[in-house]
Amino acid sequence: MEIKKTAIAGTLESSDVQIMLSKGTVGVEFDLVSDVAKQFADDIKLTIKETLGLYGIENAVVKVVDKGALDMVIKARTLTAIQRALDAVDQPNWEVL
């Protein structure tokens, strides 16, 4: 699937993550800011990439500002950003959820 428009989800508050998705052309490109980037950058990216994969999204620019979010929070915020980016907020993908 292709991203239709830029979308954002999440907050900049502690234990949360802000995720911005927009159109990409060369795979999934990350721009990640996190206090725990050293330890967890790869895990955070993997979670987001897998979630994008559930929707068949192969190309995207992903900007992430992580404030120490747990895995399930990262997944939830990514799902919301995807629904918005696909212009499909009213049609949640139940199989994925």
């Binding site: 830029t6 900049l12 508050e13 502690s14 802000q18 911005m20 927009s22 800011v33």
Partner: protein
């Protein structure tokens, strides 16, 4: 953790405005000129015991007047991040995902922690951006040579409109370099509209094969980087803005495009542009060579070729003046659109600035 409620506040309400301004002044923010306040789209604030403890505003794509009381119950950075989330979400709802912020150097880290990236800094302040489309995306739209080359020149013009003087400047750069980038200001603030100015520059340099005409975007002499170019400011503001504009050019644009020189016309007429030229010389040399080219004289006794003189002639309908100052391509455009251009002036478009 205690969560504060963030509310939208109305600065037209005099007592709200007074409290807001007092709070910001206590935080060290002093500029409340109408030119700063009028563009504000929205202002939010957080109250504690009926006193403001944090605030922030949006003006177009710029986030302004962000301040948080140092000693809040829930912590300084928490409240700051809440306010910024709210401001970014306001913009996202309108489909805008790109924001700039000017701030003092001491707050650089606070903004970088939430995803902002520094575009330029000087001792008075820094300019940061977040979101998309960002400068990386802007630069990716500019054509690059396939193999690296040594001498890449740059010219920055408003071309309002494109004159023989601009042509001469670009010819000089074209002759002595392998490639020339001509950046045309994107700001829509001139008698000639941006698409018209770009088209006239392209038409005027069509025969020069090593010249690439590029839209300057938000990053080269815009309301964002250098508002004094378009609106009157005092010299200390000009000093600050020109530092930001020139450093952004040097470190974020020229370095990426491999630019080795910049050509400017000598500036006998405009005080602001003259200060800008001085700043270019002091900041860019020696890494980027600045060539100041003597302004060309028009035929007859009209003095130096100047786009401002051309605009004044358009206002008066004095064809003999612009015929001596602009190339045929620009002449055609002026002749074909004279009434429209004059109408823009009658409707209030200023022609005596840049």
């Amino acid at each position: 953790m205690m969560s504060n409620e963030i509310t939208t506040i109305d600065l037209k309400d005099k007592s709200v405005r007074r409290d807001w301004q007092n709070f910001l002044m206590a935080c060290g923010i002093k500029n409340f000129d109408d030119s700063e306040l009028n563009p504000l789209d929205i202002t939010i604030a957080v109250y504690e015991n009926e006193e403001i403890i944090g605030t922030g505003s949006i003006a177009g794509d710029v986030i302004k007047y962000v301040a948080v009381q140092e000693t809040t119950m829930s912590g300084h950075s928490t409240l700051f991040n809440q306010l910024m989330t709210k401001l970014e979400n306001f913009m996202a709802v309108e489909g805008r995902f790109h924001q700039f912020v000017f701030t003092k150097p001491i707050y650089q880290k606070s903004f970088e922690y939430i995803g902002f990236k520094t575009l330029a800094e000087c001792k008075q302040g820094i300019l940061l951006e977040k979101g998309l489309p960002d400068i990386k995306e802007y630069l990716s739209t500019i054509p690059r040579p396939k193999t690296p080359i040594d001498k890449v020149a740059s010219v920055v013009i408003n071309a309002n409109p494109f004159t023989n003087g601009h042509r001469f400047l670009i010819e000089e750069a074209s002759r002595d370099n392998e490639l020339v980038y001509v950046f045309v200001l994107n700001q829509e603030a001139s008698l000639f509209h941006t698409d018209e100015r770009i088209a006239l520059v392209k038409a005027g340099v069509q025969d020069l094969s090593n010249v690439i005409v590029v839209n300057g975007g938000a990053y080269i002499i815009s309301y964002l980087t250098f508002p004094a170019y378009f609106l009157k400011h005092n010299d200390s503001a000009i000093d600050y803005q020109t530092s930001i504009d020139v450093r952004l050019f040097k470190y974020k644009i020229a370095s990426v495009l491999g630019i080795t020189s910049r050509y400017v016309g000598s500036e006998p007429l405009s005080h602001t542009t003259n200060l800008y030229n001085q700043k270019l010389i002091s900041e860019l040399n020696p890494q980027i060579e600045v060539h100041v080219i003597q302004r060309k004289l028009a035929a007859g006794d009209l003095g130096v070729i100047s786009a401002r003189t051309v605009r004044e002639a358009i206002d008066k309908g004095d064809e003999t003046v612009w015929q001596k100052m602009v190339p045929e391509t620009t002449q055609h455009f002026i002749s074909n659109n004279l009434l429209e251009l004059q109408q823009r002036i009658r409707k209030g478009q200023k022609i005596n600035g840049n």
